[in-house]
């Protein structure tokens, strides 16, 4: 297929798809025109004059989000280990356990975190505890998958060498595989912590604690100066956590 033909075909397929998807949105120039000045005022209210007096509450809620992310990620980090071991293809002869493990992990991973938040709020009441559990369960999905993939990539040579010494499979796992993968596991946990600081901020909106809660509150009250402070503080926190976590992960490699 020539280049020109391919480009034309692509255009022929892509354009109607794009047009169809845009059409459902009731996008009129009038609407955009009306919205822009509103957006401009909002943005200036939020970022040009943030309500600094509101800071103590923001700080307290930010700390809560960090705690939710920290504890939730830590729990997931530990709980994901058996899942990762189950889902790793190279530990037992039969492919059955690893298939089951991988399906389970996928199911956990794709289950919306917000729904987990709702579920735990139902059982534990509103507040940060529900947030911790939602973050923890959701993170097991991704961490378990990363763990399993890492285990599948271990250095086969060292394992072969220990097998020839007559060590049992359990001993080999403990002294050959674990020392190799644990530093990488810690890296994965730190990476997931990064992501969780973001999502912990969000699930608060439905009541699972942290900064999301006051975010929703101030949004409903249309209190833009306070909203602006919250957004600035959240973004700043995410940036700081990201860079610290990146430095630590570099040291671990």
């Amino acid at each position: 297929m020539t280049q020109k033909l391919r480009s034309t075909l692509t255009l022929l397929v892509v354009t109607p798809v794009l047009l169809w998807s845009m059409a459902g949105m009731d996008v009129t120039p009038a609407r955009i025109a009306a919205g822009l000045p509103r957006a401009a005022t909002m943005l200036s209210d939020m970022f040009a004059h943030p309500d600094w007096e509101y800071w103590p509450i923001v700080q307290q809620r930010l700390i809560e989000s960090l705690q939710i992310a920290a504890l939730g990620t830590f729990l997931a980090g530990i709980l994901a280990i058996p899942f990762g071991v189950l889902a790793a293809r190279n530990l037992v002869r039969s492919p059955v356990p690893s298939t089951i493990g991988k399906v389970l992990l996928n199911a956990i991973r794709t289950f919306p975190e917000i729904l987990l938040a709702y579920a735990f709020i139902k059982g534990l009441g509103l507040g940060a505890f529900a947030g911790v559990m939602a973050v923890a369960i959701h993170s097991i999905g991704m961490l378990g998958k990363l763990y399993a993939e890492r285990i599948e990539n271990v250095d086969k040579g060292a394992i072969e060498a220990l097998t020839t010494t007559g060590a049992s499979p359990v001993a080999i796992f403990r002294h050959c595989i674990l020392p190799e993968v644990l530093p990488d596991f810690v890296s994965f946990v730190l990476y997931r912590f990064d992501l969780n600081v973001r999502s912990a901020s969000v699930i608060g909106i439905v009541g699972a604690g942290g900064i999301g809660f006051i975010l929703g509150l101030q949004y409903q009250a249309a209190n833009y100066p306070r909203l602006g402070l919250i957004v600035i503080a959240t973004i700043a926190t995410v940036i700081v956590v990201d860079s610290i976590s990146a430095k630590i992960r570099q040291r671990l490699a």
Binding site: D155, G157, T164, T165, A167, A171, R174, E180
Partner: protein
Amino acid sequence: MSDVSTGVAAKAATLVSFENTSVTYPNGFTALTDVNLEFHEGEFIVVVGLSGAGKSTLIRTINRLVAPTSGDVNVLGTPIKNISDAHLRKTRRRIGMIFQNYNLVRRSSVLANVLTGRLGDLPTWRALLGLYTKSDTDLAIKCLTRVGILDKAYNRADQLSGGQQQRVAIARALAQQPRILLADEPVASLDPPTAHQVMRDLKALSREEGLLTIVNLHFVDMAMEYADRVIGLHAGTVVYDGPGADMTEADFERIYQRKIRPDDMRGAAEH
């Protein structure tokens, strides 16, 4: 330790015997055909041959990394073809092995690596918790001293040079208190001076501990220099079995069935 200096080879115990051993891999390739050999305590044996001739397979059937498809291999009094996993582990305890790529646990310390040589003798709970006994640790230290690398005990294994890592691997094998030592191309990744050093160490150890040592080499000059006995393989069969001291390049050309080339030689120990 046996007193090798008094014995004629025939008087020393037979530790390994191949009985009509054949190995065909699942993909159909036949690596060994009808091999019959006896290896005795204290011998220093070098196996030579082209790649694909079966050197690696021969060594790996001794500790059953590769299983014989017909015939059997008798190791330390046990025919190993059909034994259970538990019995196999017990037999492997007494066979140490070193590899071309050292195969250490890279992120662990040198001492931790040597200690893993003791794992096969530990009860499960000790192995899981990493609680080696004092005698284990003493033995590990002794082995490290033996190969001259005790000062690096707490270094991470991957911080060491190739020659040093191979010495750690040898120490790990020694920690098993083996009767047989297998070496699969132990010096192929090392520069000439280091390679010769490792071969000298292996030979000395073998003599001092009375170990049956079987080494795979594709370097013709090293085989001639170090081997007590040379086994030459060609296309899966034994075509030569004799003392190393008397070998000539012509003998090698018969094993290889071609002229000896420069890259078959390792080169001098000194620059």
